[in-house]
């Protein structure tokens, strides 16, 4: 498949990138790893005039320790994240989820921030980012602003990143010592999650002191499950105690129906996976 003709620019700085976005407006598409954009261009479901490749912006590639949080730049690939000891230690849930993304080729090209900005609810990083209370750093001509995950995801493929803006980094509070587990349900290993459940918990004296639950592909955006999180607090990490709570996770969600599962099946599976993920995260 061959995309329609477009101009390609690879700015060296964020400022240059923003200037290009301002100049080309609607005609420009931002590309980081290109793993979602290029298939669309090749299928000719889009034909932008200009592709702005931000993968060469050096300042965006880093993963840094910001004290209480880890900052992952927009150029950091999935593999960079997998290779990062900071992420492994402080954001174990994200590390586990990224390990489940597609296949090695894609993980070496695709970026975490690119996936967040693409906002595909079936992507594997949205749910853990939400669960870990990520903050998205957005730059525009007006300057920089920070948006919490809960406000970042607006709808299917739609985020708080406005026209002419760029998601430059995601900043995620450290969850050092938390137990975590990402449960991805697929038929074949390289496919999108049919359902994914991201869980991180803090266990104190055998009971769950804090729990955070994110859901992949259970609606038009990645979701948090606050009711389940609240109900889990104070429960012992046993199947008897949490099974019924977790089974409710799909309530009120509106997951898609497609070749891999209808909505009711997804809701059911989400409940089972949540139970398994909580138990695994709690080390039970």
């Amino acid at each position: 498949m061959i995309p329609a003709q477009f101009d390609y620019v690879a700015p060296a700085t964020v400022e240059e990138a923003l200037a290009l976005l301002a100049e080309h407006g609607d005609e420009a598409k931002v590309m980081a790893g290109g793993q979602s954009l290029l298939p669309v261009l090749r299928m000719r479901l889009n034909a932008p005039g200009v592709v702005v490749d931000i993968s060469r912006i050096e300042e965006l590639r880093s993963i840094t320790d910001d004290g209480d949080a880890i900052r992952i730049g927009a150029g950091a690939t999935y593999q960079d994240v997998l290779d990062s000891d900071l992420v492994r230690e402080h954001l174990t849930l994200l590390h586990q989820a990224v390990a489940e993304v597609a296949d090695p080729q894609i993980r070496h090209r695709g970026t975490v921030c690119g996936a967040l900005a693409h906002a595909d609810p079936a992507g594997d990083v949205g749910a853990p980012a939400l669960a870990l209370d990520a903050q998205m750093v957005i730059r525009g001509s007006e300057g920089e602003r920070t948006v919490p995950g809960s406000e970042f995801f607006v709808d299917l493929f739609e985020t708080a990143v406005g026209e002419g803006e760029l998601l430059t980094a995601v900043v995620i509070p450290k969850h050092t010592g938390w137990g975590s587990h990402y449960e991805k349900f697929v038929r074949v290993s390289h496919q999108w999650a049919i359902v994914g459940v991201a869980v991180t918990v803090r266990v104190e004296g055998g009971t769950i002191a804090e729990a955070k639950v994110g859901l992949t592909n259970m609606g038009s955006t990645p979701l948090r499950a606050p009711a389940v999180e609240a109900a889990l607090v104070g429960q012992p990490a046993s199947e008897e105690a949490i099974g019924a709570i977790c089974a409710q996770v799909g309530e009120g969600t509106d997951p898609p129906s497609d070749l891999n599962g209808q909505a009711d099946y997804r809701r059911h599976v989400a409940g089972v996976l949540t139970r398994r993920a909580v138990l695994a995260a709690a080390g039970a």
Binding site: L37, E158, P256, D258
Partner: protein, 152 residues
Amino acid sequence: MQLEHSFVVPADPDTTWALLTDLKTVGGCFPGATVTEADAETFAGNVKVKLGPIAVTYEGTGRFVERDDEAHRAVIDGTGKGLRGLGNAGAQVTMQLVPDGPGTRVDVLTELNITGKPAQFGRGVMQSVSDKLLGQFVGCVENKLAAGDGTP
């Protein structure tokens, strides 16, 4: 695929009907749509669907295939041809107004057929896309009815 929407507006059925059968106004409510020409029975225009990575344009026409001003029921048939070898899209929209207290309930049933590349995009994403766009369309119509307090 079939998509169903239902909403209630504060206006009475006659007022609501007048707005809903004004093709220029209604057509303009579709996200990305430009109505280039419209008369009482037909309209022509284009729709630029822009969502996330996808941006595609359909050019098309629509007409009433059924219109019952008494029963407040209409069926509009629209066909669009995608630019850039995209394949075609067709929609049959059935509108039915039902009195609802002082207002009106509008039931919209859309039978949408998308062929070609978008339908092959995978994971039923086009279904989600269509659902979202129609939701926006219905929201816009609803707003127009509500904002005008029933006056078109």
